[in-house]
Amino acid sequence: MNPMPNESGLRRFEKLFNNTETGIFVVLLIMCILLTIVSPNFADPYNLGIIMRQFSFVALIALGQTLVLISGGIDLSVGAIAGFSGITTAIMMVNFGINPYVSIVLGLLIGATCGTLNGLFITRLKLNPFIVTLATGEILVGLILVFTKGWPIQGIPQSVLFFGQGFIGPIPLPAVIMILVTIILMYVLKKTPFGRHVYAIGGNEAAARLVGINVNKAKIGVYALSGVFASLAGILMLLRLGAGQPEIGQGWLMPSITAAIIGGTSLMGGQGKAIGTVIGAALMGVLANAIVLLSVSAYWEKVIIGAVVLLAIILDQLRARWKRV
């Protein structure tokens, strides 16, 4: 017997609109419609494909960042891990002649290792995640320069470039991979004990320990996964560019946090969704594209994105306040 009344359709509808991600999605939709009207080139499948590919990389690391933020931490090394994994994968393929597929797997393992090290420092030595990941990020960026001396690594085997450059139908392969990762992460967060534990730790870490959650283990897992997602983004970018550019991953950190926050993830921990983050990343991607299509000076891009972030969190705050009443 169920003591609670079943939710009516109206309540469900209301609930839908009480979600940050729905609100942001509506904003995204309105933007797309307006752009279609103003600029006919926008809705062109090719253009849409380009947008998707562009934001896929940021979306991937933002998914890892979301996981870390939900657990109440922060990962400032995501861009650096992306770059480092990309470069080491390129070196393995080109300089050591390792099978490119094996190199990719090893590259992902390197990302996982970097993340695990972050997690170990944070949990075992009880260091602040902000400082730890700031430092490891600096080290990895430095190592990229040590390994490459600032020169790109040319001669990535053609056989694996389709991961970065290919399409399935109209959809670029990096976007397909990003969507797959999103679905997996949504499942992990919603359906597995690990996912539930991550929310619990972010919501109340002291209480989490007292209900028997192995907090350290879960946190290490969170940072390790963030490392894997970052290295996946970095390797895909490597294969997209066809060359091991030392700049891979530079400037990805802030957008990763921005996408998560636009999508409703709380910096206080305990709250956030994978789908929200992807919509947040998409919103930023569409904005960047709109700036090109509308021939606005590219110098304005950051101003506009900053303003959008402010607007998004203000709207979300208002919505939350309205909900409480």
Binding site: M1, N2, M4, K191, P193, N204, R209
Partner: protein, 491 residues
């Protein structure tokens, strides 16, 4: 200072009930009462931390509205709180003048020399010889307290409030403090002194006010009263035995045995047995080591010595996870800090320790999860419109029921309840009491820590009374009285 007819209610509790309190110049006025009697509320009112619902405060002959701590300071009220509020990284001099920095004439530059000189003057006034350039963090608690007193004087305090000042002091340090307080009294300052230690109060105060259940029961001249009389007033009404004789009781299998459990500075040499169906009460004053003891049993902290036996075999409880796997559940006294996951749903809060059991290869079995949550919401009468509601939106009583449900769903063998009904309205409190007794009747072994003597006596079969980290005695709850417990608890 005179307080007239002060009233203050919190949801479900009448914290101050028509309190009249008078503080004369040049007296040390002690306030005593059990935990939760309203002492802290009264002090918070004087400090401007909370506003009374009604009633007036007069300083001298002038009616005062104390609407903020800074207002209290400007009225000449200084406090030495239990948790000292000094900045450890700053020097003594900087701390004394924090918030009233001495500046060079006309410019916002702190005058370091003058600060040091003035600070030294105030330390000298209370007879303390210390270099004012020492960092406060390097001082012992006793000296930090004196710095706090100097700070109050530097703010021009005429009224000084001390909340449990000797809790962390040695006997010798306390005597030094008393000498300083005596001297301040001679200078005409008024001192409000809150303490649990009867001997101290007898030694230094001129009058004592006794509080109970939000009422100020009596104000007595120290020379006219005895410690026994004060304790009787603290306990109050003749205690009625509403206790039912429970069918089940000690006699079941011994679940948990603790032998000589010790943890430096917290508790020492604690031994007891807990049987199926038994409710063991732990009484004692705040700071007696009750919470520290159960946290160690639950694996949250590591004891320095002693053993724990689970169904007769020795175990080393190295983490809460380990304790839970044995079959121990712990409900903390601080529900918000250690109990609930505020922005998670009631369902998720109940099933949190169950996830490994509910996990299938496809993930958490959400159908079973929902039905378990629904089952406990119903059986524990948790008042909510939906299991999906965020738990922070529930009342304290319903939150507490959900946390109890968490451990019942986990099917624990021992349930440790730390102040299970603190801050909970009377109705929910009665329901929780009923539930605890019913669970024990069904064979659950329960440990109940409570500062409410009535609660301990009513619920428990046996009561362990702790004082300063030691088990001072085991009393049979059927026969003991509040007076007896309090006497043991006061040492």
């Amino acid at each position: 200072m005179v307080m007239r007819d002060i009233n203050k209610s919190f949801p479900g509790v009448k914290a101050l009930n028509h309190v009249n309190f008078q503080l004369d110049p040049g007296e040390i006025h002690a306030i005593v009462g059990e935990n939760g009697a309203g002492k802290s509320t009264l002090v918070s009112t004087i400090m401007g931390l909370i506003q009374p619902d009604s009633g007036d405060i007069y300083i001298g002959d002038v009616k005062a509205v104390i609407d903020s701590p800074s207002k209290a300071l400007s009225l000449g009220i200084g406090i030495v709180p239990q948790e000292l509020n000094l900045v450890p990284q700053f020097t003594i001099a900087e701390n004394i003048f924090l918030g009233s920095e001495i500046c060079k004439a006309g410019v916002p530059w702190i005058d370091g020399k003058a600060t040091q000189r003035e600070a030294a003057k105030y330390l000298d006034k209370i007879g303390v010889k210390l270099d004012v350039n020492l960092k406060v963090g390097d001082l012992s608690v006793a000296y930090q307290q004196l710095v706090q007193i100097a700070r109050a004087l530097a703010f021009g305090a005429e009224i000084l409030i001390l909340d449990e000042p000797t809790a962390c002091l040695t006997y010798h340090e306390a005597q030094i403090l008393f000498k300083i307080l005596d001297q301040l009294k001679e200078e005409g300052k008024s001192i409000v002194y809150i303490s649990h230690h009867m001997e101290e109060i007898k030694q230094i105060s001129s009058r004592v006010s006794v509080m109970r259940d939000g009422n100020l029961i009596a104000t007595l001249k120290m020379s006219d009263t005895t410690i026994d009389e004060i304790i009787n007033l603290m306990v109050g009404r003749a205690f009625t035995h509403q206790k039912k004789n429970r069918a089940a009781g000690p006699g079941g299998t011994c679940v948990l045995s603790v032998r000589h459990l010790t943890r430096q500075t917290e508790f020492r040499e604690i031994s007891f047995d807990l049987h199926e169906g038994q409710i063991l009460g732990i009484a004692g004053l705040v700071g007696a080591g009750r919470t520290e003891l159960v946290r160690a049993i639950f694996g949250e902290t590591k004891p320095d010595g002693g053993e724990i036996y689970w169904y007769g075999s020795k175990v080393s409880v190295k983490s809460p996870k380990y304790a839970i796997n044995l079959g121990i559940g712990y409900v903390s006294e601080e529900r918000r800090k250690f109990g609930i996951f505020p922005i998670s749903s009631i369902r998720e809060n109940i099933t949190m320790p169950l996830l490994s059991v509910l996990n299938r290869w496809t993930g958490i079995d959400q159908a079973s999860e929902k039905s378990i949550a629904a089952q406990f919401i119903q059986s524990l009468k948790i008042k909510t419109s939906s299991a999906e509601k965020e738990i922070r939106l529930l009342s304290g009583g319903n939150q507490q029921k959900a946390i109890l449900g968490r451990w019942l769903a986990k099917n624990v063998k021992v349930l440790i309840l730390d102040e299970p009904t603190r801050g909970i309205d009377l109705n929910a409190k009665a329901e929780i009491h009923e539930l605890i007794v019913k669970l024990a009747d069904d064979g659950l072994a329960v440990i109940v820590i409570s500062s409410e003597l009535e609660e301990v006596i009513n619920l428990s079969d046996q009561i362990m009374v702790m004082h300063q980290g030691a088990a001072k005695g085991f009393l049979n709850a059927q026969e003991t009285t509040q007076e007896e417990i309090l006497k043991v608890a006061l040492g």
